[in-house]
């Protein structure tokens, strides 16, 4: 919220609560001139702002912070629903158990591989699709609608149609002795395919928003200077689109890292195809081991936080959520 340019409350404060030149307030630089003059009124406004936010903050804490804290607390306990009498505080034992488990690291590797491969493919295909949708001269509406259909289908339903397509008995992509969904690499490829098919339109949508930012004049000027189509794409369009691309990449990476439904339907995590979410589900819901399950949830939470952090650090000011981005 606070990064979305000049705060309307601040502007209002500048113009009404305090005697301040109206032009300054309108230009949004009241802050610079009237630091001391503003302070009292501004403080009151801040207080009001906090009070106004309070209900939302309380709800957020109740529905987000509390479960996170409770998960952390569970992860420090031996807590298996099948042995209710053996529940006890065990410190970091669960973390040791999970982090020293081959199953966890296999799942982690599989998740990373699926994330990197599918997001990379989606970026390329999404860009192509975005360009097509952006440039389409005839039937633009139709092209956009058609390409968005996969995104509109419920993931589980789409996953089931992929499942039956590759099924040993009913599948129209397989023969009677051919069961790709029971082998690791073919299964992973099918999972990536299902992911890409499903979310490329989403990527394209986000990228299209970026394409709209590229001024036609700039492209025309570049063309006038002798830049060919590829140069115009890499030297003009991509730099201007960078923020949009980063948003798209960040969203999809975080999303892909939490992949669950496609794997659940396609392989149930058999033959080393579990993602971290899948293995967490197996331990928590199937295995009834709240301690280990909560530990895994916390580790996923940390991984996701790291991914977000890396995006923001690596891409600096252009990254979504960084201070300057919104005020450009």
């Amino acid at each position: 919220m606070t990064t979305q340019g000049p705060n309307p409350a601040e502007t209002a404060a500048g113009s009404t609560a305090v005697a301040e030149p109206a032009e300054d307030a309108k230009r949004g630089n009241g802050k610079k001139n009237g630091k001391s003059a503003l302070s009292e009124g501004k403080r009151a406004e801040r207080r009001l702002a906090w009070l106004l936010c309070a209900p939302a903050v309380i709800v957020m804490v109740a529905v987000t912070a509390w479960p996170i804290i409770y998960s952390l607390w569970l992860s420090l306990q031996r807590y298996d629903l099948r042995f209710p009498d053996d529940t006890e505080f065990v410190g970091l034992d669960n973390y040791v158990a999970v982090l020293s488990s081959g199953y966890w690291w296999t799942a982690f590797g599989v998740t990373l591989a699926i994330t990197v491969v599918s997001v990379a493919i989606e970026l390329v295909l999404g860009m192509v699709l975005a360009l097509v949708m952006h440039r389409a001269l005839v039937g633009r509406g139709l092209v956009r609608t058609v390409s968005l259909i996969p995104y509109g289908i419920v993931t589980v339903v789409a996953a089931f149609s992929w499942y039956f397509a590759w099924d040993q008995v009913y599948g129209y992509f397989t023969g009677p002795d051919d069961a790709p969904l029971t082998q690791t690499i073919p299964s992973l490829l099918i999972i990536v395919l299902a992911e890409v098919w499903k979310t490329t339109p989403f990527m394209a949508l986000l990228l299209m928003a970026g394409l709209a930012l590229v001024p036609d004049d700039l492209l025309k000027a570049a063309a006038m200077d002798g830049a060919n189509a590829w140069q115009r794409f890499t030297k003009v369009m991509l730099p201007v689109m960078k923020p949009a691309i980063l948003v798209a990449l960040l969203f999809r990476t975080l999303d892909a890292f939490r992949i669950f439904d496609n794997i659940f339907v396609l392989t149930k995590g058999q033959n080393d195809t579990s993602s971290v979410s899948m293995i967490t589900y197996n331990n928590l819901i199937k295995g009834l081991n709240l301690g280990i399950g909560a530990t895994m949830s916390v580790l996923i939470f940390i991984s996701v936080a790291i991914i977000a952090f890396v995006f923001i650090k690596l891409f600096g000011t252009a990254a979504p959520g960084s201070d300057t981005e919104g005020r450009r």
Partner: protein, 423 residues
């Protein structure tokens, strides 16, 4: 996250209100259930009314639904349909009401010993056996008029048949799932071993288990299994045996093979024969028992009615209906000698009145197998044990008897102590 989930389940469940005499039955979606529920409701004459809440067809889905609600202390569940492997888990978690007194006596009467063992945990009866099941050895009597008595004999016959260019394959459920655990458990027990100690606290895999692993590996090495062994579940096994050009000579599978092969109009049906599960060396075959039990939830607020309803649901005439019309063998010994036909099954338009003799030509062999059958390891952490076992044994071609045995011992030991991580 788990906490909020569980609370949510509790809140949702808490909202339902029902008439005082309604007993809910959480049982898999099976075609014979509505009939036996209706029979009991009629007999109860208003004392109780059973309402069937259908659970998914797959075992994991059934277990998950019940477990989630029971973990939240849901009082809405009265009767639970439990796979034979779930009783220790549910009992240890204190989710099941114990059967005592007259209820217990009625369950013990006429019920076969091995199915009864699957309903018992820690010396107490926690469930009533509804139906049972055992795998048999199915073979082609034109190829092997005298069926093998041991795995060694079967391997030799298969080898000879292969050399003669005849169908030779030995089929069993080798995919990475519960079926592979059943196959392994039957082999270990037939070799004279056991996976866990009787109290379920110790891993007892020894030389005998090693022998079981050797047999599984040897068949792959000699190419005596089907190439799709590592994808084979029950249905694939019967499907690879039925066609006229099938390369299979033997299959280890449940009794549904008989009806499935007949209904598929398989050219091999006329030579299809069966016998009990083969032994290993000098040891007789001990096949793994399957089936379903019915239990009363510890959180039920109508336990008295629930016990009554459960007794009604598993009474002889209902078990007989389920056996003939639903294909699940009964747990009452007397029904294996019963030859009285019943009224046509619901929905059967041919009006055929079948008896146990028509539906179970293999009933003597089922009964014989049940007398010596092995239970799957009785432990609250069976789910972990099963997941880990099928993971380690898959695919059977990758088994290295000594190394696999050691890996199994270590991982199962972790599982039994509910330590370590599930794959």
């Amino acid at each position: 996250m788990a906490g909020s989930l569980l609370t949510a389940a509790g809140v949702v469940a808490g909202c339902s209100s029902e008439a005082d005499n309604v007993v809910t039955l959480y049982y898999a979606l099976e075609q014979y259930v509505p009939h036996i529920v209706a029979t009991c409701n009629e007999e109860a004459n208003g004392e109780y009314q059973i309402v069937h809440r259908q659970l998914p067809r797959d075992a994991d889905g059934q277990r998950e639904q019940m477990v989630r609600r029971l973990a939240a202390g849901d009082t809405d569940l009265d009767l639970l349909g439990l796979d034979v492997t779930w009783v220790p888990e549910f009992a240890e978690a204190k989710w099941l009401a114990e059967w005592t007194g007259e209820d217990k006596a009625s369950v013990e009467e006429d019920t076969l010993e091995v199915p009864l063992k699957t309903a018992t945990w820690d010396g107490k009866l926690y469930a009533a056996p509804m139906n049972t099941n055992v795998q048999l050895l199915w073979y082609d009597k034109s190829l092997t008029p005298e069926p093998p008595k041991t795995w060694e004999e079967m391997i030799e016959m298969s080898r000879d048949l292969k050399a003669q260019g005849k169908p030779y394959q030995i089929l069993y459920t080798g995919a990475q799932y519960e079926g592979l655990v059943v196959a392994f458990n039957s082999l270990v027990n037939s070799a004279g071993g056991q996976v866990l100690s009787d109290d379920g606290t110790e891993v007892t895999l020894d030389d005998k288990a090693r022998r079981a692993l050797e047999i599984m590996r040897q068949m792959v090495d000699e190419g005596l299994n089907s190439p799709s062994l590592s994808n084979a579940q029950e249905q694939q096994v019967v499907d690879s045996f039925s066609p006229g050009d099938s390369q299979a000579a033997f299959q280890i599978n449940w009794p549904f093979v008989y009806a499935a092969t007949r209904d598929a109009k398989s050219p091999r049906f006329e030579n299809l024969a069966w016998t009990t599960y083969p032994g290993v060396g000098d040891n007789p075959g001990r096949v793994t028992v399957g089936g379903f039990n019915i239990a009363v939830s510890a959180y039920s607020e109508k336990k008295d009615l629930a016990f009554k309803a459960a007794r009604c649901l598993r009474q002889a005439k209902n078990q007989k209906y389920a056996a003939i019309c639903g294909g699940v063998p009964p747990t009452l010994e007397s029904l294996y000698k019963d030859e009285e036909p019943i009224a046509p099954c619901d929905g059967d338009t041919s009006g055929k009145r079948q008896s146990m003799v028509d539906a179970y030509p293999m009933r003597d062999d089922i009964l014989k197998s049940l007398e010596t059958a092995a239970v799957r390891p009785l432990t609250p952490v069976y789910q972990n044990l099963s997941t880990v076992t099928s993971k380690i044994l898959s695919p059977p071609g990758s088994i290295d008897p000594q190394a696999t045995l050691e890996e199994l011992r270590e991982e199962l030991n972790n599982a039994v102590q509910s330590q370590g991580v599930l794959p």
